[in-house]
Symmetry: C2
Amino acid sequence: MSSYGRYHSQSYAPSAPQEPSYPPSSSGYSSFPPGTPQDVIRSFQMVDRDGSGFIDEYELQQALSSAFHRFNLRTIRLLMFLFKHPHQPLRIGPNEFAALWNCLGHWRGIFERYDKDRSRKIDALELRDALYGIGYAVPGSVLQLLLSKYGDGSGRRVELGFDSFVECGMIIKGLTDKFKEKDRGYSGSATLKYDDFMSMVIPFLVSYE
Amino acid sequence: MSSYGRYHSQSYAPSAPQEPSYPPSSSGYSSFPPGTPQDVIRSFQMVDRDGSGFIDEYELQQALSSAFHRFNLRTIRLLMFLFKHPHQPLRIGPNEFAALWNCLGHWRGIFERYDKDRSRKIDALELRDALYGIGYAVPGSVLQLLLSKYGDGSGRRVELGFDSFVECGMIIKGLTDKFKEKDRGYSGSATLKYDDFMSMVIPFLVSYE
């Protein structure tokens, strides 16, 4: 059993959609999935002022700020990159927006559940527990390495606000899921081709700012 | 032969040091390697105002700005993360500074050689040629994916200035070298453990800003 082996007993973990619903409807304006709550639709339409059916990163930042958090643009770009259609420019339509909203709702629930001292911050142990709770048993050394990228460089103990928590969570979950696709037997090892390895990893790297 | 197989015939490609020289000398101030040019030592000492023997990210940005470029802090943090001692806080001593300076000199030479139209920008084809020139035959699809992260989201053709070129180069070279360590036979495939995969990738991810 691999160290991330708890995963396969779970299915509700928040995630970027594997196959975004495309292409848009014949009107050119892809519609929301059936059952999408009105507040989600309203949040999208309020920022899509030109009615193009797509929103850019600044509009997404604005759309999410009332219901969730004013995410920094780096997190916004990571979210867009993970949720947008792979062959489309960096923009989000109604389907992707609904999926992203749903995903952020899950992450917020997790954040609140594991922020046990109600500090609005998640520390290393709480992060480990939170990931374990959604089925990802991530080794402490891996989490420490990741958290060291969020510190101020002094080596002091790192705590994550909701913004960085979502970013960390999406990175760990996303990379683990990609790895798992190549490790169907949950052995903890996978054989990867060089091209696949690079293509797996690059979406999680830097975005232009 | 793997697609990155040209690598092993080369040995001069710019790189983060595999084994930074540590610990510091008994005086507490680790010294520069023998033969370090005076301008490198001077650049370090000018920004290390408290004489601690270590510089932080802002000091590094300043130290590099006269000789190379005023790198944005994201690139500076990636460079620090790749060059610093793995178990030290985010700071750079003389040995790492000399190695980093040397590495940036190589990248500048490559940038100038492959910026054939002297536009001070490298486009996708020039980037491919530049990487091929130092021994990395990176598939076009991988480079396109990476470059798409540097665009403004519109899908327009991306060109990299020196700053982003160094970042891209360090990412491609760094990840490829890590992969290569696990693919000693240059087969183009490697078997990775989950923990190793995550630890390979995380240093190239986002840094706190």
